[in-house]
Amino acid sequence: MSWIFLLLAGLLEMSGVVMINRYHQHRNWQSLLLLAAGFGGSFLFLALAMKTLPMGTAYAIWTGIGASGGAILGILLYREPKDWKRLVFISIVLVSAIGLKLVG
C-alpha cells in the first residue's frame, strides 16, 4: 500500500507542476485551487508512504517521478523547449538530487 501512496504522491506532484503552467494561462481561483490540491495532496501521500518506506528512498522516488514527469508534461502540454542540452542538464540536476536523497 505504501508504494501506491508513493506513486500517487509522485503523480500529484507532477500535476502540481503542470498546474503552475495552467495558472499562468488561466489566472483564476480554480487554477490556484488545483495547484494547491496537487502539491498538498502530494505531501500528504508522501507522508503516508514514509510511515513504512525508508525516508531517503521515498524522497528520491517522489522527486524522480514529480520533477521529471513535470518536465515531460511541460514539453507535451505546454510546448516547453525540448532541445537535447536542456534535457541533459535537467537529467543531471535530477539524478544528482535523487543521489543526494539516497546517500543522505
Partner: protein, 114 residues
C-alpha cells in the same frame, strides 16, 4: 543575473528552511516559520514559472533545495559528511549552471505581459 532566475534561487532558499522545519520544528514559533517559508517558496516558484519553462524551474528548485538541505544538515545538525554528498552537490551545480546557460530567458508564455 536575470531577475527570473533570482526568483528560482529565492524559492530554493526558502525550500531549505521549510524542509528543515518539517523535520526539526518543535515549537509554535518554529512551525509558523515553517509554514511561512512554504508559502514564500511556492509563491516565488510559481512566479518564476511565468517566463521561464516550468520544467526547468521545478528541476532547479528541487535540485538546489536538496543540495542546500544536505549542506545545512551537515553544517547545522551534525549529519555526517560524505565525499559522495560533495561530489553530487558539485554535479548538481553543473546541471543548474548548464540549464541557466541554455535557457532563453523570455521564451515562455506571458512574456508579452511585461
Amino acid at each position: 543575473m536575470n531577475k527570473e532566475w533570482v526568483k528560482v534561487f529565492i524559492a530554493a532558499f526558502f525550500e531549505v528552511f521549510w524542509v528543515i522545519g518539517l523535520k526539526h520544528a518543535d515549537s509554535l514559533l518554529e512551525w509558523i516559520g515553517t509554514v511561512i517559508s512554504i508559502l514564500i517558496s511556492f509563491y516565488v516558484l510559481i512566479m518564476a514559472g511565468k517566463k521561464l519553462p516550468v520544467g526547468t524551474v521545478y528541476a532547479v528548485f528541487v535540485g538546489l533545495g536538496t543540495a542546500g538541505t544536505v549542506a545545512a544538515e551537515i553544517l547545522l545538525f551534525d549529519e555526517p559528511f560524505k565525499l559522495a554528498k560533495l561530489l553530487l552537490i558539485f554535479l548538481l551545480l553543473i546541471g543548474v549552471v548548464g540549464l541557466k546557460l541554455v535557457t532563453n530567458d523570455n521564451e515562455e508564455e506571458g512574456a508579452l505581459t511585461k
